[in-house]
Amino acid sequence: MTVIEKIQKICPEAQVSTSGDTIVTVPSDSLAAVAEALRNDDQEPMDYLRDIVGMDWSEGLGALYYLESSKTYGRVVLKTVARDRDEAWLPSVCHWWRTAEIKEREIYDFFGIRFIGNPDMRRIFLREDWKGYPLRKDYDMDSNPLNMENEENADDTVEYYLKPDGTVEGHRNILFDQKDFVVNIGPQHPSTHGVLRMRTSLDGETISRIDPILGYIHRGIEKMNESLTYPQTLALTDRLDYLSAHQNRHALCMCIEQAMGLEVSRRVQYIRTIMDELQRIDSHLLFYSCLVMDMGGLTPFFYGFREREMILDIFEETTGGRLIQNYNVIGGVQADIHPTFQQKVKEFIKHLRSVIQDYHNIFTGNVIATTRLKGVGILTREQAISLGATGGTGRAAGWANDVRKHHPYALYGEVDFKEVLYTEGDSFARYMVRMDEIMESCHIIEQLIDNIPEGETRLKTKPIIKLPEGNFSASVETSRGEFGVMLESHGDKTPYRLHYRSTGLPLVHAMDTACRGNKIADLIAIGGTMDFVIPDIDR
């Protein structure tokens, strides 16, 4: 029995559309029943909620639920529309997938859809006194001028419930008590890797609760996308998770190419794969550097950056950019690889293999480091799946979630590589996953670098690209987890809605779970090993 048949068994009125991705539309009344059945299915439990995408269709506000099974890796998309535009509400699914807690907040913030039963319905990215919901199609862009007053944050949250007469009402949940010692970590803090702010209540040095406050770098990229042409949208992907610039852009290019029915050449596939892996090494080296620096060891920070500069050199020769590369374009890559590219990559890998032992000697084996990392900030496999903590964080807990392995794209189906898995789920495992992945990436590159076939590096495309109507999506494994592109086209030259699955948002959400009961110093170490990049979260 396929997933769709299962859904239709529970909810006969479910409709299936197949323009682009297969999407099952269920009425909002039966969403809860369908969600529960899918989540608790025996053969194919849809236990991983990839993302919830809020939408403003002409028929009303609604959401798309992207589900995946951690057992069979099967995927399904649910669509549901809220009844009333002005008083829109949907049932919350956070009882089955904890990651919904934060994703529903995002949709509330952008679209004003209230989720019944979600314990925390505050704004997430925008100020609490923000007027209107920016991603609605009728939002007035000038309605919120710059407000220089300091923002006061409430110590409680709202939870909505449905009264018997069908109206929605809220009651307040206490977050921080009067007697809690609440320390603000961030938004401008040396080790939050950007402008994350964590309101942390402490009991001595022990953390009793963390409330992440996001949005300090929310740039409204998704709204901007709706008025940009497809080639223009590409430029902004580099600025999401700038340490996975290639991979992000790869995902969007793949998505658009798939919608256009464009097949890029083998040469491009090779180049993209190599670049993705170089980017991964780059990001993981930076991860090592930052983690070590956050833990107070300044010297190893410089080791990581020393090697990272070599990658940046390689990048810059070919792409012209060190951090923001603008390399992938629709139908290929911006320019052919530089003549010295292959030789330099090989030299780099040789060099990296010779120095990586120093990294381990100075940090990994160090008794201070191991005792600070081992057994700290444990996320179990079930927690990781429920929280949607993909990437190294999930793999450290034993959840095999590598998109490259389970939904291969580019050349990942053809190369030989190992999916690095640990089972401890603690900070040390998260650290080791990344360190091992550096070596795996080297291994992948070595298989490809000498065999790049000749071919077109860039297919000619029309100056104005129009995509057919429908929903399209693509996902890649970036340096820190699954990055997804969810695109809805209405046949125009601009996307109707272009949503990115943030890799970091679930990770930040997992911080509270992982940190409780640990020390402040552990907060820094756990945050470091979670390895999130804030601009990617806030978008």
Binding site: F125, L126, R127, P134, Y139, M141, N144, L146, N147, M148, E149, N150, E151, V183, N184, P187, Q188, H189, P190, G194, V195, G215, Y216, I217, H218, R219, G220, I221, K223, M224, S227, A235, L236, R239, Y242, L243, L286, S289, F301, F302, F305, R306, R308, E309, L312, R322, L323, I324, I534, P535
Partner: protein, 200 residues
């Protein structure tokens, strides 16, 4: 010609710098009142100290901050200029390098940090986002240029700028400091409140 001597930077020619007209204008304005020779040489000494000891408050919000880290790393080594003492507390910093997009939510924080800094203080706007909103200038949540919030001393364009471009901008700032008069008007460029809020 006095400007040329004053704003000399090691290994760089005067003409290799852009926007020199601004410095010349500044010196003309400052010299209008005239200053004693003794006062002048004390000024020069203090300015030498100040320009060579720019401790920056790290205010990285996005991409440019990573390039700033690269700047501090071994390859580019900020320490050569004595910039490596980055302070995390605004009280101890001399300049604030704004690295990355400033959003509406962040703007009051930036202003507050700027107010918390001890005089004399400088602002360097790095990257397109801080100068004009850059890639995101059409967004509903991005400040189009931090000069709306704080007075900016040097603009370093780029998205993000190369590490060398950072140095070029920092040297520009050093040159600006060198022609200022510490004993007359560098402090209190803006009126400021009497007591500061605590930094928690």
């Amino acid at each position: 010609m006095e400007v040329k001597k004053k704003t000399a930077i090691r290994s760089m020619q005067y003409d290799e710098f852009k926007n020199n007209d601004y410095l010349e204008q500044m010196v003309r304005d400052l010299n209008r009142d005239g200053a004693g020779i003794i006062l002048g040489s004390v000024d020069d000494l203090i300015n030498w100290g100040r320009s060579n000891s720019l401790w920056s408050l790290t205010f990285g919000t996005s991409c440019c901050a990573i390039e700033f880290m690269a700047l501090g790393a071994a390859r580019y080594d900020m320490a050569r200029f004595g910039f490596e003492v980055t302070r995390n507390s605004p009280r101890q910093a001399d300049m604030i390098m704004v690295l990355g997009t400033i959003t509406h939510k962040m703007a009051p924080v930036l202003r507050r940090l700027y107010d918390q800094m001890a005089e004399p203080k400088y602002v360097v706007a790095v990257g397109g986002c801080t100068i004009s909103g850059g890639p995101f200038r059409k967004s509903y949540h991005v400040v189009n240029g931090i000069d709306q919030i704080v007075p900016v001393d040097v603009y370093i364009p780029g998205c993000p700028p190369r590490p060398e471009a950072f140095y070029y901008g920092m040297m520009q700032l050093q040159r600006k400091i060198k022609v200022q008069k510490f004993l007359g008007g560098v402090n209190r460029q803006e009126k400021k409140p009497k007591d500061m809020d605590s930094n928690d």
